[in-house]
Every structure is written in structure tokens, then in C-alpha cells.
């Protein structure tokens, strides 16, 4: 068994005459948190949609856990879960019902137990029987990610998992992602927040102009660009640090 979870070679995709992905190459190892960093419209979602079998590539070789996305989409879908830009849940159903539905669709043998475990793990037990559209943004995201874990897929795609969340909820999601990765799940994360990539990712790829312009660990990237210079500056707290200190969650900011 190879150690590569995701392999992308020469991936191209255009919409009408707009070339979104010109030539994308990258590899993600099993158990890694890999961040695809790029500004709005860089093609991150397009890439994730192709990797998760929602869209067909124009050309290139894309495989997940050794399965080709075009020739073996069924096997790919067995191996993945997609958590899109919006919390993909049914707001009229309770948290428990949402989880049960996915458990049944995934055909897990003990849906009730799987659901109960996830509710505990994601701290949703108290809210389990409330309708999901009554949840806070952070709770919705947690439920969304919990739904993605059912059937223990080897690879999870998280497309801008913290866009639109308040700082508190963002940290909740970060903690969740770190936990997942400790459990051996491979995570491909897209984000436009540099800080998010810095907090979470083992390796970072920067998608720009339809190509991956650089890949590496944060340390690699720091060494490469820009050249190090020594400066002495007074450390001012960021607004985020002030906000979190005031609401009493300050300790978690620098935790990683």
C-alpha cells in the first residue's frame, strides 16, 4: 500500500473560456493536514470539486487512495467525505436525525451507536434533539464535520471550513481538525486565511493563477520567502487576542 492519499498531476479545468486550473500538481501523504491556500477565485473550490468527484477534469491524473476520480468514482466516494463551504445539513431535522440519515445512507452497521458517539465527541449531546437551523454557526459546522466522519472515510475535504464563523467558533473548528488528524485521517483544507494554514497545516500549497506556485512546510516556506531579517518591534496584541482575552478564551489562541 502506498503512502500517498491524494495525487494530482497536470490537472486542468476551464469554464467556457476561463482557464481556472492551468496545470495543478501536488501530492498529499496519508495522515497529513494539507492546506490549499489561495485568494478568492483562485480555483480552490474547483480543485476540491474535482477531487471529490463532483466535477470532471478537462485533463490530468487525479487519484484518491489509489483510485482514479474519473474511472473509479464509486471507490473514490467510498474513501472520501466533502465538507463544503456551507454547513451541508438539513435545518429542519435535528442534529441526531442529520447524523442518522448519513449513517443509514453510508450503510454503517450500527447507526444509533455511531450517532451517539459523534454527538458526544462533538459536544452536541445537549442539542441533539433540537432542529439544526436553531444551532449557532460553530455548532452547525461541528455537526457538518461530524456528518462527514461517518463511515470513517480515509480522506476529508474541508472547503473553507471557517469562512463566516466568529473567532470563537473558528477555534472550535481548528481544535476539531487537529483532533481528526491525530486519528490518522488525511485532510485537505482550502483556506484564504494565512493564519488558518499556519495554525493547522503540516504542509501548505499556494494556488495562484491556476498553478501551485509553491509547496512545503511552514518552516520551508519561511526559509524560502522572504529573506529573513532581524527587527526589534514592540509586541502589540492583535484585536483577535484582545477579543478572546475579554471573553475568556485567550488561552486557546496560541495553542497548537
Amino acid at each position: 500500500m502506498t503512502n500517498t492519499a491524494i495525487s494530482v498531476k497536470g490537472l486542468k479545468k476551464s469554464f467556457k473560456d476561463k482557464e481556472v486550473l492551468k496545470e495543478v500538481d501536488f501530492e498529499v501523504q496519508r495522515g497529513e493536514i494539507f492546506a490549499l491556500l489561495g485568494s478568492n477565485g483562485a480555483g480552490k473550490t474547483t480543485a476540491v470539486n474535482i477531487l471529490s468527484t463532483l466535477m470532471k477534469p478537462d485533463s490530468g491524473e487525479v487519484s484518491i487512495c489509489g483510485f482514479d476520480v474519473q474511472r473509479q468514482p464509486e471507490d473514490v466516494r467510498q474513501s472520501i467525505s466533502l465538507t463544503g463551504q456551507f454547513a451541508a445539513l438539513d435545518g429542519m431535522q435535528t442534529g441526531r436525525e442529520n447524523l442518522m440519515m448519513i449513517a443509514k445512507l453510508r450503510g454503517v452497521s450500527n447507526p444509533v451507536q455511531v450517532t451517539d458517539n459523534l454527538l458526544v465527541r462533538f459536544n452536541l449531546t445537549d442539542a441533539a434533539n433540537r432542529r439544526a437551523d436553531k444551532y449557532s454557526g460553530g455548532m452547525k459546522r461541528r455537526l457538518d464535520i461530524a456528518m462527514s466522519l461517518i463511515g470513517t472515510p480515509a480522506v476529508i475535504f474541508l472547503d473553507e471550513p471557517t469562512t463566516g464563523l466568529d473567532p470563537e467558533a473558528r477555534i472550535e473548528v481548528w481544535d476539531t481538525i487537529n483532533e481528526l488528524s491525530e486519528g490518522g485521517t488525511t485532510i485537505l483544507l482550502t483556506t484564504q486565511y494565512l493564519e488558518e494554514a499556519e495554525q493547522l497545516a503540516d504542509r501548505i500549497a499556494i494556488l495562484h493563477g491556476g498553478r501551485i506556485i509553491t509547496t512545503g512546510t511552514l518552516t520551508d516556506l519561511k526559509e524560502m520567502f522572504p529573506p529573513t531579517k532581524v527587527e526589534y518591534i514592540e509586541k502589540q496584541p492583535t484585536l483577535e487576542e484582545i477579543f478572546l482575552a475579554l471573553i475568556g478564551k485567550g488561552g486557546e489562541v496560541n495553542e497548537k
Binding site: L82, G84, F86, D90, L105
Partner: protein
């Protein structure tokens, strides 16, 4: 695959039962129309029958179904926008089961509303001497009509850019019965309007249902009625399937 459709159907039906207003609002417009036509206009309308509720009911049922399928568009649109559709489509389940669950939901919820409207009509004096076989044929025609309009409703549900866009298409569908034999005989209409009224799907369906309910025959128009239903269904199904595939890029 069948059990997946069942799981998804269960979810949609539960949502409907949780918002009974969707059943009530769908039933209320046709019931109001029925009251309006029977107790306000009815006395002045010459249809050649003494029981105007009987005359009116088939057309009212078609209006009920036409307004009911708008909710199918709405439910599909919500699934697409919320990302649930993308979630289902990246899961190891048959993709068509997602669409079929929506179609079956439409079928069941429309059947419920139609029963409510028929019960109100009974209170208002609707009587039929149709036997069980006639009734089954009526159910068959209305079922086909529901399926045809539902597949039509799937198209805007998948492709619309806004919630308004997803449901707006149903207005002309609801209006169609007014330019047909549903409320008044077509004979008094001006030539061009009459030509349209007599050759659009609603008239043949209304006439067939009427023949079954009150004359105990299937009428002459049944084949035209069936051809319309099946024709609309097949074309709408093909376009909807294509829209579904295209949505997947």
C-alpha cells in the same frame, strides 16, 4: 439503492409533516377558488349541469397539483443551495436516488392535498357515481399528471439562481386551467382562445376525469390526455436528468 431512496424520502416527508403549512397553503388556494366559483360566480355560469361543484372539481384538482409541485422546486433548490446535494453526490450512493426521493415526496404530498380538497368538495355537494375502476383510472391520470409536472418542477429546482426563480414557473401552470374547459364550457370563447383552450393538455385531462366521475366512461379524450401527460413527463425527465448531470460539471 431502494433503501437509500427510502431514507431520503423519509427525511423529506418528515420535513413536510413538520411544516404542515406547506400542505395547508397548497390546499387553501384551490379551496378558495372552489368556494369563489361555486358560491359567487357559479350561479351565473351556464354549464348545462345543475351541480357546479361536480363540473368544477376536476379542474380544481389540477390547480391543486400545479401549485403543489412548486414546493418540489423549492425543496430541491434548498438542497442544492445548502450543499446537501453536493454531500449526497460525493457519498457512495446512487445519485439518481436523490432525485427520486424528491419526486416520490412530491407524489405523496400532492396525493394528501388532493384528498383534502376532495373532502371539502364532498362537503360542498360533490357527488359521483363512479365505481372503483373509474376511480382507479382517475387516480392513474392524476398520478401521471403529478409525475409529469413534478419532473418539470425538478428543472428550475436544480438550475434556478434564486428561490423566486425556482417557484415562479408554477404561475403559468396554475393559470392554464382557467383557459380550458375546467370552469366554463369552451364553446362561448372567441375563436383563437377556444382553439388554444381545446388543444392544451388541461382540457383533455379535465374532460377525461369528468367522464370517469360522472358518466362512467373513459371518454374520447383519454388517449390525448395520456399522451400529454406521458409526453410532458418524458421530455421534462430528459431535460431534468441533463440539468442534473450538467450541475455536476
Amino acid at each position: 439503492m431502494k433503501s437509500n431512496t427510502g431514507v431520503l424520502l423519509g427525511r423529506l416527508m418528515r420535513n413536510i409533516l413538520r411544516s404542515p403549512d406547506t400542505i395547508i397553503t397548497v390546499a387553501i388556494t384551490p379551496i378558495m377558488l372552489m368556494l369563489l366559483f361555486v358560491y359567487v360566480f357559479g350561479g351565473a355560469i351556464e354549464t348545462g349541469t345543475d351541480n357546479y361543484v361536480n363540473y368544477l372539481l376536476p379542474g380544481i384538482l389540477l390547480i391543486t397539483i400545479a401549485s403543489g409541485v412548486a414546493y418540489t422546486s423549492l425543496r430541491l433548490f434548498t438542497d442544492v443551495k445548502s450543499g446537501l446535494m453536493a454531500r449526497f453526490n460525493t457519498m457512495p450512493i446512487k445519485r439518481s436516488s436523490v432525485l427520486w426521493a424528491h419526486v416520490l415526496t412530491s407524489f405523496v404530498s400532492n396525493a394528501l392535498t388532493v384528498v383534502v380538497v376532495i373532502l371539502v368538495a364532498l362537503v360542498m355537494g360533490f357527488r359521483s357515481n363512479a365505481d372503483i375502476l373509474d376511480w382507479l383510472t382517475v387516480v392513474g391520470i392524476l398520478g401521471l399528471f403529478t409525475l409529469a409536472l413534478t419532473w418539470l418542477a425538478v428543472i428550475p429546482g436544480l438550475t434556478a439562481g434564486s428561490m423566486e426563480g425556482a417557484t415562479a414557473y408554477s404561475y403559468p401552470l396554475i393559470f392554464l386551467p382557467f383557459i380550458s374547459s375546467a370552469f366554463v364550457p369552451t364553446e362561448t370563447m372567441p375563436k383563437i382562445v377556444r382553439a388554444f383552450a381545446e388543444n392544451q393538455p388541461v382540457t383533455s385531462i379535465v374532460d377525461s376525469v369528468r367522464a370517469l366521475l360522472y358518466e362512467g366512461t373513459v371518454g374520447n379524450g383519454i388517449w390525448i390526455a395520456l399522451a400529454w401527460c406521458v409526453g410532458i413527463m418524458v421530455i421534462a425527465y430528459l431535460i431534468a436528468s441533463k440539468a442534473f448531470k450538467r450541475q455536476l460539471g
